[in-house]
Symmetry: C2
Subunit: 503 residues, 2 copies
């Protein structure tokens, strides 16, 4: 490559070729990894002090050399040297609702996320370095000084009024005009989901889910003794509406629970038209939708995807979210906008916890009002988009042939389908010995499916150690894949973590 | 009275008589209300700069005048001028378990507690003035500065380790030697009780309760679709063991849920021998006990009552408590020591809320370690004991004849049995119009009983306005009582807030 570009500092060589050679080195050295976006022509010109014409020449050379590709209306990106892994195909749902026992593996994975010696690809937890730790703490310290009695007295049941007003304001961006009084704060999104399911179901009811689906849903279903019916799902567009309609025609359902925006674990994002159709189908069937939107503000495109709640015409969408992915997981501040179920959810909040803590709610309310949340979110989105590019590059480089992978347009998780026969539990155990955490596919399934799939969290501070961990993980996946091809059966002797029985 | 004592400042009158006259005025002026304890002879002598002999003479005069009474081994107390209301009698339990719907009245009462315009006798909420607001806030502000990332990251599922160590240390005083690892922190005691019941029951199970019983239990039973079976209870010694044994002999029960120490709403405190017997009976029947100890540290005697957990031999007692009555309701920090159910409770905590907030747990941990908690508790106990005396005096003065009343040896609530026929819902509505909050008896019953009873919270800052509110309330109770005697039926047209159906 070097010879093609010519010796970079030879003044005999034209400037644009010398610059191209220097940038080729930056790319090959990993400063701009595969998938990374290069500066715009204008920025490049300014940074390198050259004309726009020269900048264009440089990029043309890099493109000719196969180092860079142009994406229309987006810019120049570093090319992947191997073909990118394709996206996984559409999943298939179950025929009958099942009662489930998700087991405790997810708690072990969560536990590993708190252990700094692990490469934290398992739990979807943002590292503190990405969060406005210092500013938020300063606000908290100030609030307890300014409003001491407020911080220590019981909050009202629905939650801290200023926070609920800020939440209502922000929900406008998701297309939802809600009154602050319709907002109920919770102990994180998990609590919001729990209260919502408790409000709209009774034991034995059937709940409709995407597949694969968020493990938290499966755990709540188990606790509330609900049956899971999984619906086929497209890794790009979300739940299949035809399959959903079929299921609704066959049997009654008490609720549908989805992550329509950067779904967990697939990362899909429903197009607006499908959201509108979804709302219509569920409304016609009188089935409430519990919409989990915790990743909604982490979009890579120019605008925030609209919530399904924006298409809610009769108050049957219970919108749940939290600040755990964007501001402070340790504060445990989430919320629910329960539509027509507001009184029932309020009552369930009182029953489970009386009220939520005051100081943390107050700090987040003030941070949202004037702490620079939008600026912080812009940085966070850029960080995650760049990290996804690095993960895509690493998987392309290091993982065995036949690997498929999602490339979500937001959030901080990717879903990998590894070669058939590979056992993600065995891989989980192997990786753990190398202090690498990951989430095996079957914990996202009510029926133990996705045995050869894994979910990776890329909310990590990039480093050589992370790159090395991905290389090791890819190597382990390759070994496991070769072994499973030879033996013809899964390598692990672990029982699947999901026990099910049809009803 | 004045004439008997002689003119207080006439130097011809002996010193002890002059002092006695001055103190008689203090007592009659309400500085020392009926039931209040006077200074010890030694303190009196020091305060008034007189000899012990003179002090004794003064107290003898006051006693002769009927103003003061001696309680052996305790001291001199201001006498009640009317006979004290007697204690209510033993309650009777139900025959069959019932499913319940406690209704939302308790939420309205909780809501009124946050409204400063109300005389807050309804909810059992301590006013911020009684709590270490300033010191705790200073600690919270310092902790977020010293350990910024710790405050903002997810806590471990079981809870903040330093806090759990402090809790284990304090539980020694209740006679419980528990390992910090057995402690699970929660979002207040309510969350602890919810998780405990969720861990040991399934829908349709029968749960044994005191009667009257804490409304929170009834609400959780409803949410988890459990049946309530109430057991006869003594207002002094707690649940009747014979009635409990009878009930256990008749049918299986999944759990027994009690507040054995300053029970809510009766204020009873089980003697040690009965605690030991209770633990034995339940262990033999293999029925776990959920012990709610939120008032345990608010004892008026010299030593902390032992928990029933102290008599637990096989890990079948789930001990629940919180710092909401003693440090900071708004922080929502509670805990559970679930014995042999520790893994199940941990899992339910994860399912309902992942983890509890970090900053509030950290602040309370540091406050317990070196914030002066014991000194604070001593002051709080004295405050509540003095307030109880004022409430007893006010009820004695202002409430209609036939009123019965508990005089608990700890906590901050009293239970009043008003004349038969009086309707506590009508009284609640009347009182609310006067901006006086109270808790009507039937919300403490699975079967709508205790219609003529009310619970009063005396955790209030005493003032003329509070005294006036008690006088108004007593007057309203008198009117309601006379009206009900005339009409022969309850005055209210309200439906009872508890709907039940036998199973």
């Amino acid at each position: 490559m070097m010879t093609k570009s010519g010796p970079p500092d030879d003044p005999e060589v034209p400037l644009y070729r010398r610059l191209a050679a220097r940038w080729a080195r930056l790319i090959e050295g990993g400063v701009f990894p595969p998938g990374a976006r290069l500066p715009s022509l204008r920025s490049f010109g300014r940074q390198m002090s050259v004309s726009l014409t020269t900048a264009m020449e440089v990029f043309r050379v890099l493109e000719d050399q196969g180092l860079v590709e142009v994406r229309p209306q987006s810019g120049h990106y570093v090319r992947y040297r191997r073909p990118l892994p394709p996206a996984p195909g559409r999943t298939t749902g179950g025929r009958e609702p099942v009662l489930i026992s998700p087991g405790d593996m997810v708690m072990r994975i969560f536990h590993d996320a708190g252990d700094a010696s692990f490469a934290p690809f398992g739990a979807a937890v943002p590292p503190p370095e990405f969060l406005p730790v210092e500013r938020l703490n300063r606000i908290l310290a100030r609030e307890v000084r300014l409003r001491p009695e407020r911080t220590q007295s019981y909050d009202s049941i629905r939650g801290f009024a200023e926070l609920r007003a800020q939440i209502a304001r922000r929900m406008l961006e998701a297309g939802c005009a809600v009154d602050p009084d319709e907002v109920i704060t919770t102990n994180g999104a998990r609590h919001a989901l729990y209260l919502s399911l408790q409000a709209v179901t009774k034991p034995g009811d059937t709940v409709l889910l995407e597949t694969p689906t968020y493990t938290g849903f499966l755990q709540i279903l188990e606790a509330l003794r609900l049956r899971a019916l999984e619906i086929a799902t497209d890794p790009r567009d979300g739940i299949c509406l035809e399959a959903l309609e079929d299921a609704l025609a066959r049997r009654p359902a008490a609720a549908c629970v989805l992550v329509p925006t950067f779904g967990n674990p697939l990362g899909h994002c429903m197009p607006d038209a499908r959201r509108a159709a979804l709302a219509k189908i569920l409304m016609a069937a009188r089935v409430p939708l519990i919409e989990d939107d915790v990743y909604g503000e982490l979009y890579f495109g120019g605008t925030r995807p609209r919530a399904v709640k924006a298409f809610d015409r009769d108050g049957s969408v219970l919108f749940c979210s939290s600040f755990s992915k964007t501001i402070a997981p340790g504060y445990r501040v989430g919320w629910v906008v329960p539509g027509r179920y507001v009184q029932e959810v309020e009552r369930q909040k009182y029953v489970t916890s009386v009220a939520t803590p005051a100081p943390t709610q107050m700090a987040i309310a003030v941070y949202l009002a004037d702490g620079g949340y939008d600026r912080h979110l812009r940085r966070l989105r850029e960080t995650y988009q760049a990290l996804q590019a690095r993960f895509v590059a690493a998987v392309t480089e290091y993982f065995p042939e036949g690997t498929k992978m999602t490339r979500p347009r937001g959030g901080h998780i990717v879903w990998l389908e590894l070669p058939p026969g590979l056992d993600s539990f065995a891989l989980y155990q192997l990786a753990r010995r190398h202090r690498i955490s990951l989430a095996p596919g079957p914990i996202y399934s009510a029926s133990g499916g996705y045995r050869n799939c894994i979910r990776l969290n890329y909310a990590v501070r990039w480093s050589d150690a992370i790159d090395r961990a991905l290389r090791i993980l890819g190597g382990l996946a390759g070994q496991a894949s070769r072994k499973s091809r030879k033996s013809g059966k899964p390598a692990s002797s672990d029982r699947p973590p999901i026990a099910t029985r049809p009803m």
